[in-house]
Symmetry: C2
Subunit: 189 residues, 2 copies
Amino acid sequence: MPQVPSTRWCPTPEQLMILEEMYRSGVRTPNASQIQQITARLSYYGRIEGKNVFYWFQNHKARERQKLRRRLCSQYQLLYSANSLPHHQFYCSQEAPVFPLPLHHATPSPFLLQDANSVCKMEAGDAEEASSTSDATLRHESMAMVDAAWAVPPCCRPLRTLDLFPTKSTGLKDECSTTSKSSCSSTTN
Amino acid sequence: MPQVPSTRWCPTPEQLMILEEMYRSGVRTPNASQIQQITARLSYYGRIEGKNVFYWFQNHKARERQKLRRRLCSQYQLLYSANSLPHHQFYCSQEAPVFPLPLHHATPSPFLLQDANSVCKMEAGDAEEASSTSDATLRHESMAMVDAAWAVPPCCRPLRTLDLFPTKSTGLKDECSTTSKSSCSSTTN
DNA sequence: GCAAATTAATGATTTATTCAAG
DNA sequence: CTTGAATAAATCATTAATTTGC
């Protein structure tokens, strides 16, 4: 009957359980080898691919954050409607921001770590998102998995570095008043 | 000297030229096989990997759009400051939107198309972003390249479907008033 | 009880934003 | 300052829950 076996991955209860357990124990953005492992382990309980694991963590993280935001938002709204304070400040354009942190991308990227040093900052604890702010040192641990997939036979010539070209269309750089970013003033009320 | 041969890709002039030419002739989000081809071709002029091509198109597309937006934005601002009309409408929270179109993701995803039908909608013309709105039919042409990279030996057992678990923490569904999306009301002025 | 219709949940893609190398 | 690289946010689309009329 299932001639169309569904276009998308349907996690089994065990898979879900394990994933959630991992999330609870701190896994957020597993790198390639971690994903490989997880996938291997989960594949015992049903068909699954690395991308499913990757997407699951992405989505789960995002949606947990979203829940938090919503909660905060409603809290703030209550609070401010009670106090009748001007609540223009903490923008709730969609929801409230969960962590006003610098937001360094300190977690290993979702990509393939070919032969890096593999810092392996998994199982770093159970802290929620707003925990780090420190160790912005160990970055770069990862190379895009695009690598693996896009890899092309190295028929690469010795880097000719030819004559110069107008390779950069430096015609129109800044349109508005390019101070830093977001030049178009928005909060004008 | 170059013991650290630079952590990131440095496009040679020829590579850039070719990429820009491709962009001009309509390529926006090449799929895996296209990227493979492009990479192969460009690798003649220097070391390059698929992910570089992938990222280049992503960034170039985004930044062209950004330029456009900025241009529009400043235009509007001039226009409206001249007319002194209330310009709350066309939100310029960051910049101005370039195309208020339905924005279906009608382009092939950046991922690996393993053995799909390969519609190959490259070289679709020279239209800028705002061209489609139609052919929302040919989707799904692509499978995440994550696939290729994350692939794990299929040791997958026959889907046991075990006993039941509380796999879903259905404790808190809606936080605010979940009408559809974006529950936290924002435009309250 | 059961399927069609509706809604909610969530897997998969695309776009926006951010970081930092050069 | 430009731009390659990476991540987060927004969005799309499909599956599962749920409701509703019979």
